[in-house]
């Protein structure tokens, strides 16, 4: 089943229809309908436990929904497994570092690039013989300012660099849509700007949705904000609309005193 794709300018990269999920009797997503236009910079905000990460898990296939559909560039991908969605251009990062602790950054990103190029099943040729793959991996690392530390084993990288490596791994899959789950989580405030500068520097063709708690960051980098409360879309709109919305102030902005 296909969703009508709009004219070239407003083409929808990723959308959901009636997406719902419950853990037992606890609903964590209810009737979620989202449309991400190509090249969008969307922020997903909401109090803790609002179901933001759950929504990313549903979109990327790490959780199966109870109802509803997910469309990537108009194609229904609801039945596809996580790796198949990644191959079609839907990538994500994780709130808690989900890296290859014992590999260095170069090896990790080279692996991701090799997977995308369909070379990761090759056992008869050395990694070192795959020049183009390595160069592509190194380019990604350099763009994220990880070029200098790419020989350092991941578990020994400073935390902020590990957050950048999260993004590098996702970029290696050459995504069309990238879902960032609190890309600067755990990074000291003075360094979190660095992570978001890297995010802001990504290609305009890339469609972005990011979860973030820091409202300064959200207002600075998002073109559009979706507010999720209790598994339901509470409201959405431009940063100006959201900051003026009294309801949002009450449920979210007013009591933003967690952790």
């Amino acid at each position: 089943m296909n969703v009508p794709v709009q004219s070239a300018k407003g083409t929808i990269a990723l959308s959901t229809r009636g997406l719902s999920k419950a853990f037992g009797s606890l609903p964590v997503a209810r009737d979620i309908a989202i449309n991400l236009p190509v090249g969008a910079r969307y922020a997903l905000i909401g109090p803790n436990g609002a179901g933001k990460t759950t929504l990313i898990n549903l979109m990327t296939g790490m959780l199966a929904p109870n109802a509803g559909q997910i469309f990537l560039a108009g194609d229904d991908i609801t039945a596809l497994g996580p790796q198949e969605r990644v191959r079609r251009g839907l990538a994500r990062t994780f709130q808690i570092n989900t890296l290859f602790a014992g590999l260095n950054a170069l090896e990790a990103v080279t692996l991701a690039v090799a997977e995308r190029r369909g070379q990761a099943g090759r056992f008869w040729r050395g990694v070192g013989a795959h020049g183009e793959t390595i160069d592509e991996a190194y380019d990604i690392l350099r763009k994220l300012k990880l070029g200098d530390s790419c020989y350092q084993v991941t578990r020994e990288l400073p935390y902020g660099r590990q957050r950048l490596l999260e993004i590098a791994l996702a970029l290696a899959t050459r995504p069309k849509v990238l879902l960032l789950d609190e890309p600067a989580a755990g990074v000291p405030p003075e360094e979190s700007g660095e992570v978001f500068e890297a995010v802001a520097g990504l290609s305009d063709d890339l469609t972005l949705l990011f979860i973030e708690h820091d409202m300064h960051v959200v207002f600075r980098f998002a073109s559009h904000i979706i507010v999720l409360v209790g598994g339901v879309i509470f409201t959405e709109g431009t940063p100006a609309e959201i900051s003026a919305d009294p309801g949002v102030r009450e449920v979210y902005l007013g009591k933003r005193k967690h952790g």
């Binding site: 290859f100 070192g128 991996a137 020989y151």
Partner: protein, 329 residues
């Protein structure tokens, strides 16, 4: 725009991982020493080479991909019986016998891998344990085929390459086993340094992340498991051919447990860990059983506990740790 601070290009760096270390060359040269120093022990040396090959096969799945197995002897035994039966029923040519046994073990490994790839950790330990016991009892029960607990009789090998007869001193046996071990080791070494080897390490390091980079982990595991099973079968076939017999012990739980002990002693995930572990284990068994035949496992137990407590990455892991510190100073 910006000068690279690293002295090596990324490609040169990854190629350098593949380069032979002088210690590796020394190790393989040292495997030739038994011919000169211990000519009376060539049969033992041959068994060590075969066991080392078996341990290498387990290292591929356990040390690199993190896939636990307590029933790896099933494939060793399948290879051993396949080679034995082929010879018993009239074809005693060793090299084709190896190919035949390797293929059979690989095929069974491929079939089993569809189950293995879906499970992890404790569940997997129990499944492989169960499959291993199943294989053992099947071999025990099929007396008409395998000779059961009496062992398979009537195995008789032709000379290797039509030239070298298997002699009483184990001269041919050790040359043959060592040559096969070295060739397979070259293959394993290449595999470890390939993109596929990187993918296996990725599975070991983070099972959850793999699908998020578009990887089909299950397909990788099936492939690795099939290769490891084929290698184990090859080791079993070598034992059959060099001893011209097959005993039920070749498919026993004891053998599965022993190879795991060797790998942990030597250091898993290091390619040489299984080889070093096999040497230590087999020499210790030979020496200790000379002192007190019934109780030699006592000393293996002591050694295992001591190594695991003091050197969590095995003897080789400990050595490389000290080596790195010594070079760092």
């Amino acid at each position: 725009m910006m000068a690279k601070t690293a002295t090596m290009t990324p490609q040169a760096y990854l190629q350098a991982q593949n380069r032979w270390h002088p210690l590796e060359v020394a190790f393989w040269l040292a495997t030739l020493l038994p011919f000169v120093l211990f000519p009376d022990y060539l049969s033992l040396a041959s068994q060590i080479a075969i066991t080392a090959l078996f341990a290498l096969s387990l290292d591929l799945i356990l040390g690199y991909a993190g896939i636990v197995s307590l029933g790896h002897a099933a494939f060793f035994g399948i290879g051993a019986y396949s080679a034995g039966l082929l010879s018993k029923y009239g074809w005693g040519e060793p090299l084709t016998g190896l190919v035949f046994a390797t293929a059979i073990a690989g095929l069974v490994g491929f079939a089993v891998s569809f189950v293995i790839a879906r499970f992890r950790h404790f569940t997997l330990i129990m499944i492989t344990l169960g499959l291993g016991l199943l294989a053992f009892e099947a071999a025990n029960r099929a007396h008409w085929l395998t000779g059961g607990s009496d062992g398979l009789q009537g195995v008789s090998m032709w000379p290797v390459l039509g030239l070298f007869k298997f002699d009483l001193y184990g001269y041919t046996a050790y040359t043959y086993s060592l040559a096969v071990l070295f060739l397979v080791f070259l293959g394993a070494r290449r595999l470890i340094n390939s993109p596929f080897g990187l993918a296996l390490r990725g599975i070991r390091e983070n099972w959850v992340r793999m699908p998020a980079i578009g990887a089909d982990s299950l397909a990788h595991i099936r492939k690795a498991y099939t290769i490891a099973a084929a290698m184990a079968g090859l080791a079993g076939a070598l034992l059959t051919q060099t001893t011209e017999s097959v005993s039920l012990e070749s498919i026993s739980f004891q053998r599965s447990a022993d190879v795991l002990v060797m790998l942990v002693l030597g250091g898993a995930g290091r390619l040489y860990g299984g080889l070093i572990g096999a040497i230590i284990f087999m020499v210790a068994r030979d020496q200790f059983s000379g002192i007190a035949p019934q109780y030699w496992y006592f000393w293996i137990g002591v050694l295992l506990v001591a190594v695991v407590m003091v050197l969590p990455n095995g003897i080789l892991g400990g050595l490389s740790h000290f080596y790195a510190r010594w070079r760092g100073k």
